[in-house]
């Protein structure tokens, strides 16, 4: 009988004293649940290091910090609307840097991103508010309403994100992205896709906006799942910032789309 029969029967010990790391020249003897093989993240079962792993608490608290920064920025943007465009461009660059260059630096870039995007949102909200009185608070209420209701659905297991779900949402977002890009390029030639215009109150246009709001909402579920899985797998602490950042990106997109949808509905009156 091999000496591994005990391992096969009872599994590997979780006692940190019995674990060795690759870094120390030995081979790893940790339980599979504590390894994030292939993910590029190394976690150990050391008690001392347990504070350095991602938790749900941390991700939610960091989302709170980013939301507070976003509201602070919005107050600035509301009062100085001239900052809207530069803030939008800077926010876009910061988002690209965070996603593609340094997710591990999300703790530094994400707060700046939230602040700068807040400035942009403040300016855009003021623009819509001048068109339709009270539209901004409606959009804020609906955005957070969708956030909370989808979180309840996710936590209770009512909505179960699967690989197919992710593919469907990804394909939808890809299509929306192409639509945005075509509209953006067309705007250089003095035209654009009229269906995307906030003053277009046609049923087609409202339907399109509703569809985009649905996809933005569903991507919130993917963000919840990402954070939940990250905390389960014990990803590094900085992933809390990255999770909060991804939630912020989706929330900002959702808010802008709800604002556009409400403007379209109001333009029918």
């Amino acid at each position: 009988m091999s000496k591994h029969s005990a391992i096969n029967r009872f599994g590997r010990s979780r006692n940190p004293a019995f674990s060795r790391n690759f870094d120390q020249g030995g081979f790893r003897t940790q339980s599979s649940s504590e390894m994030n093989a292939g993910s590029g993240f190394r976690t150990t079962s050391s008690v001392a290091e347990s504070t350095d792993i991602m938790t749900l608490d941390g991700a939610v608290n960091k989302t709170g910090i980013l939301l507070a920064l976003c509201f602070t920025g919005a107050a600035v943007g509301w009062n100085i609307p001239a900052l809207t465009l530069p803030a939008g461009i800077l926010g876009f660059i910061l988002a690209l840097v965070t996603i593609f260059r340094s997710p591990s630096k999300a703790g530094t870039t994400a707060p700046f991103y939230a602040l700068v995007q807040g400035v942009m949102l403040g300016g855009i909200s003021l623009m819509y508010e001048n068109l339709y009185d009270g539209i901004a608070i409606q959009a804020i209420g609906l955005t957070f309403g969708i956030l909370a209701s989808l979180l309840v659905c996710y936590k209770s297991g009512l909505i179960k994100p699967t690989e197919n779900f992710r593919l469907m949402v990804g394909a939808g977002i890809g299509g929306i992205f192409i639509l945005y890009m075509v509209s953006f390029v067309m705007s250089f030639f003095g035209s654009g896709i009229s269906l995307l215009s906030p003053t277009n109150g046609s049923l087609m246009s409202i339907g399109l906006s509703l569809g985009i709001v649905c996809f933005a909402s569903l991507s919130l579920v993917l963000d919840f799942d990402y954070i939940e899985e990250g905390a389960e797998k014990g990803l590094p602490k900085y992933m809390e910032w990255y999770g909060a950042f991804s939630l912020m990106v989706t929330l900002i997109w959702l808010y802008l789309e709800i604002l556009r949808l409400l403007a379209k509905i109001n333009s029918r009156r």
Partner: protein, 61 residues
């Protein structure tokens, strides 16, 4: 005014729900299922365990 109260209240309640419910682990119905999204390539874990086993076997020899 009532518009601001209704939607402001809705936002406040929703944020309260988010900050409380967000910190609670998802139900087993959500976490214990086979068709979860495998973002962190957990399937490779088996290979590492196998390689551990092989290394240990080498040591034994």
């Amino acid at each position: 005014m009532s518009n601001a109260l209704i939607f402001g209240g809705m936002a406040a309640i929703s944020l309260f729900v988010f900050f409380n419910l967000g910190k609670i682990k998802a139900s087993k119905n959500q976490t214990n299922r086979n068709n979860r999204i495998n973002r962190f390539r957990e399937s490779n874990q088996q290979n590492i365990i196998e390689s551990d086993y092989k290394e240990e076997k080498k040591d034994e020899e």
